[in-house]
Symmetry: C2
Subunit: 394 residues, 2 copies
């Protein structure tokens, strides 16, 4: 027993330390810490220094990490706001999904890629990272502005669309072809589930509120939220969506009561432990030596397309309000993250996506994430000057 215990403790320690160290370095350079954590995985993972060859247990912990990243993001999203900015956000999301997918898929086909792999690349370019976007907007202190709400709403919707595309892509990976009936069912299920989780589920929590608070259980609300989080993660995985989308909706369900039950700092604490393992494992799967020659070229073009397509796609529906809101929303939607990486991982693990293409997608995720904070710092200047600097939540 103690041998394996010792190994587990060592693996956890070294990964956590590396992720936090490089993360802190990145924050000091005013870059998102997330990128530092991924870089830590690249550095000490099997393809570079080779200190760590992630075990099965570690992969599972990374998966739980992804679940809590999205649960936390859900907790910080208000279903009410989502409904209020719904129409605009939905338009932004749909356009912001279609344009990147078409451009990404088209370019990969153009350079002679397999159709299946091209679909994976297109799918990976679709979903804006709610987590990174929310973090950047929070750092700028503009989360309560109208534009930020549109961005977050659209980011949520395009995650859902991204999930549907992921399911399509996963079906593709399993069966070798697209089962249109199955896809139709999945699309129906996804839309029904999404509507239920946004419109009905939060009311359930409201209804059982007093009963939850009366439960004879230490920190009953947190326990209940965790139970629901795990339940929905399993359920969404079972019906063919991804576990993380269930986790996101579980968070959303409890978002209204999160301040009252003090859920956010608690979910954040759990996240603080788990998330580095997720981001580290993303990096650990990247063979950075592949990024040279034509692969690097492809990575640069795909990154450029990812930026242009999001800014154009998401900006277009906002043009009626002028250039400035259009650009702010467009650049706000630029960073890709978890979903892109999960799509790429799904492709990699089923051998549809090559190591090279995986590297392209991770590179694209990095570039779009690095460029978002400076772009938004400029574009949100008016909102920042208006905003009363409220004391930052810890």
């Amino acid at each position: 027993m103690d041998q394996s215990q010792q190994f587990l403790a060592w693996e956890l320690f070294i990964i956590f330390l590396a992720a936090k160290l490089v993360g802190a370095l990145f924050e000091r350079l005013r870059l998102p810490a997330v990128l530092g954590e991924i870089l830590a995985g690249v550095l000490i993972g099997p393809y570079a220094l080779g200190w760590i060859h992630p075990s099965i247990t570690l992969e599972s912990i990374a998966e739980i990490g992804a679940i809590f990243v999205l649960f936390d993001a859900g907790l910080e999203t208000s279903p009410g706001d989502l409904i209020r900015v719904g129409r605009t956000a939905l338009l932004v999301a749909v356009a912001g999904v279609l344009v990147p997918f078409v451009l990404g898929f088209g370019y990969m086909k153009l350079i002679g890629d397999q159709t299946k792999e091209a679909i994976f690349v297109g799918a990976a370019m679709v979903a804006t990272s709610v987590g990174i976007t929310a973090r950047v907007l929070a750092d700028l202190n503009v989360l309560s502005s109208q534009l930020a709400k549109v961005i977050l709403g659209a980011a949520v919707f395009d995650d859902i669309l991204g999930m549907v595309i992921l399911a399509l892509v996963a079906g593709l990976a399993r069966s070798g072809g697209v089962d249109w009936l199955r896809l139709g069912i999945l699309l129906g299920e996804s839309i029904g589930f999404t509507l239920f989780m946004i419109l009905v589920a939060p009311r359930i929590v409201r209804r059982v509120q007093t009963r939850v608070e009366g439960l004879s259980l230490r920190d009953a609300p947190l326990s209940l939220a965790l139970v629901v989080c795990l339940l929905l993660s399993w359920l969404t995985a079972k019906i063919g969506m991804a576990a993380i989308i269930g986790a996101f909706f579980a968070g959303l369900m409890f978002a209204e009561f999160a301040p009252r039950w003090n859920l956010n700092p608690k979910a954040q604490a759990i996240n603080e432990f788990f998330a580095p393992f997720f981001f580290f494992s993303i990096g650990a799967k990247l063979d950075v030596k592949l990024l040279s020659g034509t692969v690097l070229e492809t990575a640069l073009v795909i990154s450029l397309l990812a930026i242009v397509s999001k800014v154009a796609g998401c900006g277009l529906p906002m043009m009626k309000e002028g250039w400035h809101p259009a650009l702010a929303v467009g650049f706000g939607m630029m960073p890709r993250g978890e979903v892109a990486l999960i799509v790429a991982l799904a492709g990699l693990s089923t051998a549809i996506v090559t190591q090279e293409t995986y590297a392209v997608v991770v590179f694209m995720t990095g570039i779009t994430t690095v460029l978002a904070p400076p772009a938004l710092r400029i574009l949100f200047r008016p909102e920042r000057q208006e905003a009363v600097r409220a004391p930052r939540m810890e």
Copy 2:
């Protein structure tokens, strides 16, 4: 990928739900929730209903759970208090370790047990559960009383003694005999490490305090505490103590600054997620059908001995202050928990302890834990009437 993800999510969900449900039921019956979580493991684990056959990943998550249970307990212990009640607590601890060990070992030899197994049973009877004791005293609102501090201090010291005995026992399991030189080194290391962690380590945190707060890292104190927790867990496992004792000392090291950095609710939140898996897995290893006939008889005698020996051993050094403090401290030290179960598990996994004897130890843990709350409720009546009912921490 999605198959394993689905399975992981299912396993996590069903275990967490079962543990929380039975835990809530127990709290309603005014019994410790911990016992309910263990019972959940017994019920749906492989030996009864057989719904869950814990995977390797799950075992690792349970081990991380044990680490966070002790980390949390450490965070809630003040090194200053430990030093202040040190002499009395140390006396209580030593007597409370010797008497149970001798009685437990003696009885098992008497009924014809193997020497090695008898040592494991004796060792399992040694350590009072800091976690359960602290929880019961907190529930009674008497944590700040002098007696409670003696109890907690002694519980900490006997955990350390228990760890040394565990190391002895582990050495026994590995080598087939006791390597006295190695044991001497371990004892020296343990004492040195303990003194260092109680006297010096908290000062290190005090010294780097401002630098930690200036770190450009989201929630730097929590990150640092987690890094230290994982580091010490690995280190103690490496030098032959148990990972959990390192986790405990990591908590102790940060205890002084825990309120300022708001560490307790965060560690508790992480714990809230992990701990049920630990306690569940304890139950899942118990074949409850074995508890009949002579095994049940042994279990009852060992439980009785565990109670009498702790109350007598720990009460004796307190007799100079009268019967009441002696009994309060004696019964306060009664509940066994994590360490006992870890000792038993170590024995089980190395096949020195049989399934039957494992069942005896788990039964003993359950009995001593169930009886502590009602006994303490009576014995702490004077302190409870004095205590100002401070608002409970969430």
